[in-house]
Symmetry: C2
Subunit: 458 residues, 2 copies
């Protein structure tokens, strides 16, 4: 744990402007992970980013696809409305995407859980988790009988080590590319007022300055509403400086918009010539509803040409079904199965951040109203993936280590800079491995369910 603290693998001990930090929740043991699946996730990162950028640039399709959730999901409705009203002079957008996958034990498939297009977090910490595990393996892997036995048990003996993880540098490089493309004076990190995961963000800020000499300011939406303005050239100006790239680490949940002021700030940023990470369109394209719509037969044909790309992406899609008025025949079949076997499904609302999914008997309860009921329109039904468990020790600061059987979720980061016609940047940007007890349904680290871990490729 001291290694973690010594290398900035930390979160604030309390929310707000606190200066006391505590190690991030950590999975002590490396997690054996199939090299083939890891490489597949890396390989599909490029077409997946193009897919989502194309979705975001397809205004018509996006609006139509999300039209059905407006009534049931006022937050998405607000974002959509803003997107319809605002016309930005800036066509370039920056995506710091993270595609999350789980292995399905029964089938051996690696299936996408979700595609994050806003505030994909833990990039600043994940790199350090990898370094920590690599350090432990090098330092103790052959000496410590406990770690040695564990590695042998989960890998069967041979392994390919922990993959390099360039998250911090790559995310900073993405922001720097956007900064350069814009030419403005400062990057802007849009942050939540009570953020505890500040260090994750600071690592990126420091790398942005150290590696690219790009300064950044941190502001909440409320602060931006207060002191920001758009000048005659269309630039977003804060404290006398033009913003080159606005990087959102806030704005993804309704809680981030307690008053009209925050919406006004969002509108101002979107209207400006700053490059947004993400734009409203990018954010909207990360909706669960979009994910479900893309999984429909032939849906990918609208956005991608290369068949190999489409096949690779399709192979990573789990079963996904619309609910509410848009539910089709397949939805009805799936709902019927879910009433009988809710353990095979998960119900997901639009909102981001972890902690809001429905599992088990509660699914059957919610589905009682029938697949087409309007109250379900903000949710999708998804195949429940059954990842194979591994023995693990989970460590939270100030708590006893928890011995458990744990499952993991692999995230693959991409940095993408592009507009409707070109994409000067589309790079793999590292990994995140979240590990949680098999018995826990939810997966968010910040929400308190999962720990940060590292894949040991086998």
């Amino acid at each position: 744990m001291t290694w973690a603290a010594a290398h900035g693998l930390q979160v604030a001990a309390r929310s707000g402007e606190a200066f006391t930090f505590t190690p991030a929740p950590l999975a002590v043991m490396p997690t054996a992970y199939p090299k083939v699946a890891f490489e597949k996730a890396k390989a599909v990162a490029d077409p997946m980013a193009r897919l989502y950028a194309n979705v975001a640039n397809d205004r018509e399709w996006l609006h139509e696809t999300l039209a059905g959730v407006i009534d049931a999901d006022p937050f998405t409705a607000n974002l959509l409305q803003l997107h319809k009203e605002v016309d930005s002079p800036q066509t370039m957008a920056l995506g710091i995407f993270r595609s999350d996958y789980m292995l399905d034990g029964p089938t051996g498939d690696m299936l996408q859980i979700e595609y994050n297009t806003i505030a994909s977090s833990f990039g600043g910490l994940a790199q350090r988790v990898g370094a920590w595990h690599a350090h432990s393996l090098a330092r103790l892997g052959t000496e410590d009988p406990f770690l040695k036995a564990h590695v042998e048990a989960v890998t069967g003996g041979a392994h390919h080590g922990i993959p390099e993880n360039p998250t911090t540098e790559q995310l900073a490089a993405g922001l720097a590319a956007a900064h350069k493309a814009h030419g403005g004076g400062t990057a802007l990190f849009v942050v939540q007022p009570g953020e505890r995961n500040t260090m994750d963000q600071r690592h990126i800020e420091y790398a942005l300055y150290s590696n690219h000499q790009v300064p950044a300011m941190r502001r909440t939406l409320a602060q931006i509403a207060e002191s920001g303005r758009i000048d005659a050239t269309g630039a977003l100006v804060l404290d006398g400086q033009a913003v080159s790239v606005a990087y959102f680490r806030a704005g993804y949940t309704p809680d981030d918009y307690p008053t009209e002021q925050e919406w006004a700030a969002r509108r101002m940023i979107e209207s400006s010539d700053a490059i947004k990470c993400p734009t409203l369109a990018y954010q909207l394209s990360g909706a669960k509803k979009v994910q479900q719509a893309l999984a429909a037969p032939k849906a990918l044909d609208r956005f991608l040409e290369d068949q190999a790309d489409k096949d690779a992406i399709s192979a990573s899609f789990a079963g996904l079904w619309a609910l509410g008025p848009e539910a089709d025949e397949e939805s009805v079949t799936a709902v019927a199965e879910a009433m009988e076997h809710p353990e095979r499904f998960v119900m997901k609302p639009q909102r981001e951040g972890g902690g809001f999914n429905t599992y088990g008997a509660a699914i059957a309860e919610k589905l009682k109203v029938g697949a087409h009921d309007k109250s379900l329109a903000d949710s999708i039904l998804m195949q429940r993936i059954m990842p194979p468990p591994q023995p693990q020790w989970l460590l939270r600061a100030e708590e006893d280590p928890l011995r458990c059987d744990a499952v993991c979720e692999l995230g693959i980061y991409t940095v993408f800079l592009g507009n409707a016609t070109e994409a000067p940047l589309n790079d793999y940007a590292g990994w995140l491995l979240r590990v949680k007890p098999e018995t826990v349904d939810e997966g968010g680290v910040a929400a308190g369910y999962a720990c940060l871990g590292a894949p040991l490729l086998v």
Copy 2:
């Protein structure tokens, strides 16, 4: 402060095995420091280390010099007794020395405060303080009107930047050199049970492993007494591993020896063939009494040959006078002056760690008994150095920044490996700058008086 936390510039928030950390106390502004004085301190590091190693190897002189303090200082008496009793098979010793200096405003001299031969701390953090200030200067030095004005005010305009600070790597390199010279299996960090400054130590441990693949274990004296033994070859064996180098970050204060057990552990280590950092002799040579004795006329002739070395060292000595039965004529004169002008002096007892010196009116009170009184034998009288103050902001976690006029103390680290006939290693190992309000007498960071800062060479 988040930068500090992100880069491991931290201390534990509580004592003991806590995992919550808080930034170390920091001086926000760089401290203008004369380049000439800084270079002088660097240059004298080599002969100063040889001087102290020669003192440590001169058993007779050391015992004689310290004989006078035995009655008044039972802790030094115990160390001395152990040194007389124990004969180690290991002649090589490792010194991680730190020579502390203050600038005397009235004379412009750079004068030695003390020479630390055991547990010279903050090497692991000082490097990060330098990096933090260099980062701030690069990031904000030309933009931030506050920092810019400060730098111009204290430097007069031009400066040579903040010197590189290789402390972590150099201290680790010293330990690695000792490890290699010995050939044993593991380094041993001897630590205090309730240590808060663990991160400082961990940085060295991690560098020792990363850069030299030398593993280290951390043990308290009590734990060593419990599980350690000396095998037939003379090796100190802990948990089945032979100790190559025993690095003391404990054992310098009587509080570290609450029972006979801790003394037994110290005896075991000293008796073993492990290379000690420091040996009892090195530790004893760091006594204030030795410092005072070396300042006596011609004292250096016994230990050094080169006149330039002796001159450089002498020039760094402040006025130092014996007290108690050994007080001489000069002591009597100094005591008389101190009764009249106690503000010109400081009274120092043997013990390490900061917080035990006597200042001002209290000096006159203590000296009432007369220069030769036995009760004074554990102390020396020293010229009070009057460093020139500079404006500063001192920052402690969870407290408001303190605006004050501050003075500083420069420490220069040396790593030294040698015995009576050879010294294969004698290297400058970086700097430490401690900054404290002008109005505060004591200087220890761990004791809560000073903050970590960085010199901006002018």
